[in-house]
């Protein structure tokens, strides 16, 4: 093709592209203009309540999940087979199956086991809130264990050898050298995992919990205004993700302060 013809073609394509973009912006503005804000105001309290439940679920499950992940990750890197294999199985199971299966297994499945029904476990497994929390914590525990395993193995060998050489036991070396270093290495991947968990909590609405997605479904079912319902939930999720990412970056910078001097 002639260079001139090519240039004209490019210009035409660009013009059409910009024109369509302008049209899209107009359509989006029109939709925002014609939204039924009454619906959003009427359900504002419930939407905020749903947001709070989402925050609660993600915070608690990540917190509990961390304390599941830590021993599992340490077992996973151990040289002792009967420590390593169960940890591997745990990680493999929770990373290899959908969160929805895990959630339904715990909520619909375990509630039917007699052993669960007739013991002190019943009040826990009867409650959708606790079931969701257990499923989420185990799930994020599996993923986080894999992240921590990678981080532990990424700690420079020389630092571990040095710790052992000055007489630290393996436990002390873990406590003072390996884990503090590994936690810092794991921060970026851990942040991604927390965002995945935040998105995962939407599944709690499938077992009758009214978190943010559950509220959006409720509003849609009651008012048949899907755009208003899902848009407000979507925007709130975006806001939560954004705030979390900012806070997490601040946290990462703070945790790695000691590296700043080295440039």
């Amino acid at each position: 093709m002639e260079p001139d013809a090519l240039k004209i073609m490019t210009r035409i394509v660009k013009g059409v592209f910009y024109g369509l973009t302008a049209l899209l912006i107009v359509v989006v503005l029109y939709i925002l203009w014609t939204l039924n804000y009454d619906v959003i105001f009427r359900y504002f309290g419930r939407i905020l309540g749903g947001t709070w439940l989402t925050i609660q679920l993600v915070t608690l499950s990540v917190f509990i999940g961390f304390f599941i992940a830590l021993p599992v990750a340490i077992m996973r890197v151990s040289h002792i087979p009967w420590l390593r294999h169960p940890a591997y199985g745990f990680i493999f199971f929770f990373r290899g199956t959908p969160l929805l299966v895990q959630l339904f297994f715990i909520y619909y499945g375990l509630a039917q086991v007699d052993l669960v029904r007739h013991t002190f476990l019943w009040p826990v497994f009867r409650d959708a809130y606790w079931c969701a929390l257990i499923a989420f914590a185990l799930n994020t525990g599996g993923y986080s264990a894999e992240i921590l395993r990678g981080a532990i193995q990424a700690v420079p060998k020389g630092e571990i050898e040095a710790a052992r050489a000055i007489g630290m036991s393996l436990v002390t070396a873990y406590r003072r050298i390996i884990l503090p270093r590994a936690f810092r290495l794991a921060i970026p991947a851990y942040g991604n995992e927390i965002i995945f968990m935040l998105k995962g909590t939407a599944l709690a609405s499938t077992i009758t919990l009214y978190e943010l997605t559950g509220i959006a479904r409720l509003v849609n079912a009651r008012t048949y205004q899907p755009v208003e319902a899902y848009l407000s939930a979507g925007v709130l999720y975006m806001v939560l993700t954004y705030i979390f990412l900012q806070a997490w970056q601040l946290f990462e910078r703070r945790a790695n302060r000691y590296l700043a001097a080295q440039g």
């Binding site: 660009k14 592209f17 910009y18 973009t21 493999f92 199971f93 290899g96 199956t97 959908p98 969160l99 929805l100 299966v101 895990q102 339904f104 297994f105 619909y108 499945g109 375990l110 509630a111 039917q112 086991v113 965002i195 935040l198 998105k199 995962g200 909590t201 939407a202 599944l203 609405s205 499938t206 997605t213 959006a216 479904r217 849609n220 899907p226 755009v227 899902y230 939930a233 979507g234 999720y237 975006m238 939560l240 993700t241 954004y242």
Partner: protein, 231 residues
């Protein structure tokens, strides 16, 4: 075993539906991923804005909400368009199409980042050499960049494929008879929920293992032009 066997057929069709949904979503996701990566690397401010909005929206919104939006939204949009064209009846959008498009849409956003990384990892010198030979932008992309993108992107795409397969369980919630749904049906019929959700978990694990086995020869194929040391 005695309880599961009568439902083997049902579980098999569920597995096929899961695979079908996953494999159908894959080309949509890869196309969107290449498009997104192209937009993000284009240098054109409007195209870059599209790419950024696309990836950050999908990253920030739950998979389940995206599926719901596509399932309800497609219904809403198709009927609104039909109505404005003068059609008064009601049109049903199949949950299969809505689910596949939603999964492809989400896959595409993560694939955008994988492809972007892969394209940026191709040495600049190779592009310059191709240009010096007189290849145009498009020919350079097709002959030099694209063949190497597969090689560099495959590990990342493999991970995304596993995520996609697990996310496909969500289509059971909009009415598709995938593994998740058929195990639920079997569980209700037999009152043995633990067993059937466990079987569902095992099927997903088996699919994961098989997919990982397929990935290795694919990567070997994509790497065939390279000397062994570089692999």
């Amino acid at each position: 075993m005695q309880t599961v066997l009568p439902y083997a057929n049902l579980l098999l069709t569920g597995t096929l539906i899961t695979l079908l949904v996953t494999i159908a979503a894959l080309p949509i996701g890869i196309a969107l991923g290449l498009l997104g990566a192209g937009a993000k690397l284009s240098g054109d401010p409007v195209a870059m804005a599209y790419g950024n909005v696309y990836t950050s929206v999908v990253r920030g919104i739950p998979e389940f909400l995206v599926i719901l939006v596509f399932a309800t939204g497609s219904q809403f949009a198709v009927n609104a368009v039909a109505e404005s064209l003068g059609y008064t009846g009601h049109i049903n959008v199949s949950p299969f199409v809505a689910g596949v498009v939603a999964l492809g849409f989400m896959f595409g956003a993560y694939a955008t980042e994988v492809f972007r990384g892969a394209i940026m990892a191709i040495p600049k010198g190779q592009i310059e050499a191709a240009r010096a030979f007189g290849m145009g932008h498009w020919l350079t992309f097709r002959r030099v960049t694209l063949p190497q993108v597969w090689r560099l992107a495959l590990p990342g795409l493999g991970n995304l494929y596993l995520v996609l397969m697990k996310d496909s369980a969500l289509v059971s919630l909009i009415g598709l008879n995938d593994i998740m749904r058929v195990s639920g049906i079997a569980a209700q019929a037999t009152k043995n929920t633990v067993l059937f959700y466990f079987v569902a978990a095992l099927i997903y694990l088996a699919l994961t293992v098989v997919s990982m086995r397929v990935q290795a020869p694919l990567e070997a194929w994509a790497n065939k032009g390279l000397p062994r040391a570089v692999r």
